[in-house]
Point group: C2
Chain length 452, copies 2
Amino acid sequence: MIDEILALIQNKEFFKLRSTLSEMNAPDIALIFDELPEDSTIKLFRLLPKELAADTFVEMEPDTQEHLISTFSDKELREVLDEMYVDDTVDIIEEMPANVVKRILRQSDPETRGHINKILNYPKDSAGSIMTIEYVNLKADMTVSQAFDRIRATGVDKETIYTCYVTDSNRHLIGITTVKELLLCDPKVTIGDMMETNVIFVDTFEDKENVANLFDKYDFLAMPVVDKETRLVGIITFDDVIDVIQEEHTEDIEKMAAILPSEKPYLKTDIWELFKNRIPWLLLLMLSSTFTGGIISSFENTLSACVILTAFIPMLMGTGGNSGGQSSVTIIRALSLNDVEMKDIFKILRKEAGVALLCGTTLAVVNFAKMMIIDQGAILASGQDPIMVALVVSLTLVVTVVCAKLAGCALPILVKRIGFDPAVMASPFVTTIVDAISLLIYFEIAMSILHF
Amino acid sequence: MIDEILALIQNKEFFKLRSTLSEMNAPDIALIFDELPEDSTIKLFRLLPKELAADTFVEMEPDTQEHLISTFSDKELREVLDEMYVDDTVDIIEEMPANVVKRILRQSDPETRGHINKILNYPKDSAGSIMTIEYVNLKADMTVSQAFDRIRATGVDKETIYTCYVTDSNRHLIGITTVKELLLCDPKVTIGDMMETNVIFVDTFEDKENVANLFDKYDFLAMPVVDKETRLVGIITFDDVIDVIQEEHTEDIEKMAAILPSEKPYLKTDIWELFKNRIPWLLLLMLSSTFTGGIISSFENTLSACVILTAFIPMLMGTGGNSGGQSSVTIIRALSLNDVEMKDIFKILRKEAGVALLCGTTLAVVNFAKMMIIDQGAILASGQDPIMVALVVSLTLVVTVVCAKLAGCALPILVKRIGFDPAVMASPFVTTIVDAISLLIYFEIAMSILHF
């Protein structure tokens, strides 16, 4: 596809090029721009019809956008900006270096510039930072047919026209209606009589994750955003919400893997940033395993007397970590889907205890059999009784799995209770705690059964 | 709220109850039903206006739905079913026991029953299984004003009216248009002249995860689904896609934590099911750590000569596992967001090697300092040279972190290449591999530096 486009540019077959591109969707054209050699992008961009050009520009990678802006004339930049929705302009500004931002702001009309600056000032992750200010605004004393006239007159520039917002003279949000309801309604009815007055809205400072949850719950197309005086200042549309859900999910996964959340796609993140996001947890977890080392040191005599016990430490710690990780990740996800709450903690502990006993017993039985078949020789060679050693390891397994699963499910709930993100209580952290617990259990059981 | 509602029921204040409920949204009323004692639900349900009743019913928990269906008369059930969209009916049927399903199908009208059976027959996770058959169907020779007449006449029963589909006499999909475009168009223009003919559609058998990716890319409100002969058979709406994205996230997270994916919310899953989802990976990972045990056994002489080395095994394995887990989870997520591909593997390996060297060196330096300060006494007591032991452990750290990060980033890509889900190559699996590698490195370095 790229080669085809390049050949068309080379042969100056601009008419064919234009008609090919006009048949395509903006996200697909943007992919072509991202792959194209930089010096060809501006030629291709100038061939696009104005509206499609702006839609395509929004979908490009920041690098491509920056290069295009640098080759745009002021007039071209102004034309693209005029076609774009304010929330998309803000998204682009957030990725650009300062000098490009200045140029964008200089070429925006004063009103838009004001809106952009306002949105840029809302805290990161707030509803205000992802809203758009282009919505259809109706008045309660309009008739349905006047409402349609207004939609027709102003709708081209609105990101969605399907949900319409009714405000009073002070811009307070007093009702909503939809194009579907308007279409099914008598044209002579006034908006005030047919609008829905029970409106669900969010504050500009609401966390965008909560906004996404509300969309998920109510199946909204768009949601109004109000300021402290409940004046309507913007709307959030469903397509931005899908992006929020994806970002939040990436953040959750990163936290669960003991990584500080990053903002950029992997290939765009440089080594230094990746390092900065990963080293803090690695250091913390490494230093906290000092305790585990301390436990082993303090049981050094037991270990010297029976070095074969060391061979099963990795398996015990691994199984404990995996068991605890399963529980913690399950509960973290259930918490973020609102499937479980603080008040369910005893129900959860009972359930996990049951699962842990089943898992622990199964693992212990299989491990006992495996040790008698595979490890018997090695244990005999070290001068120990295989049955006794297998018993110690298998018993430890049961107790470790139970402790791991109980700690794994309780920790995320407790951490959420004290106001932190439960996602940090996933496998890596739980594993470190479970490592220490399982070693203590192991040595205690070994000492009482093998009589050191 | 629940107590208030219960009091109103008890005092038979039905008028007040009805007006309170009518002001509320279906998802919120459904939450009340889920909390209410079972014998009160039917009384409350009968108070709801017909349409709101059906919308609320769709949002309830399966248990509440099942109880309500059992108390419905045939007429009541029919009324609720008539108000519901086919995709919602199918969702409910999938959660109900066989006898309830039979009753639902018996009370549906024959045409709907046919549609339900068809959707139920599509493979789980296919586009066909989540589509709805209620869409606005236009013909190319209609005028815009005739199209509006058709939307007004049939729109009440359609899940979305905003995207309209144009089909020929054989039901082949030939174009789409939107209510926005229709509103902004001259009423006398024919649909064939104004419709978009470059339509993006999916096959009924397309994986629903791919459908979600297309929504994310193109910001669709709805997407048409066609059969093998490209005849339009249904549409998928954005609200169902948000559900798909959430489900896929849960599945990804479960796979990464070595759990087989479950279908139900945590509190609805019984202990036996949780056990069945968790034990296979626990068993597999436990048995594969036999190798780690074998490595330790084979170096038993080294360990007997220097038991203090054992104290650092948990820290080394833990740090290796965490480092590898960070890389694998980062790459798994990047793969599922299409941020990286197979062809980027060398770019990724270079990047991870760089990060690994930075992380490994930092960890090694901190560890060396920590061992000289905290562990010096214990090492001296065991008759070893603290500097030498700290050197062995720190060197092992660097090599382990490099190996862990390279394995962590390469494994998910290779697994995807051979056609499996890369999510299984997350921390638990990577940890098991890295455990074995780090032990081998540890003993090799120990033997060459400490001269056993």
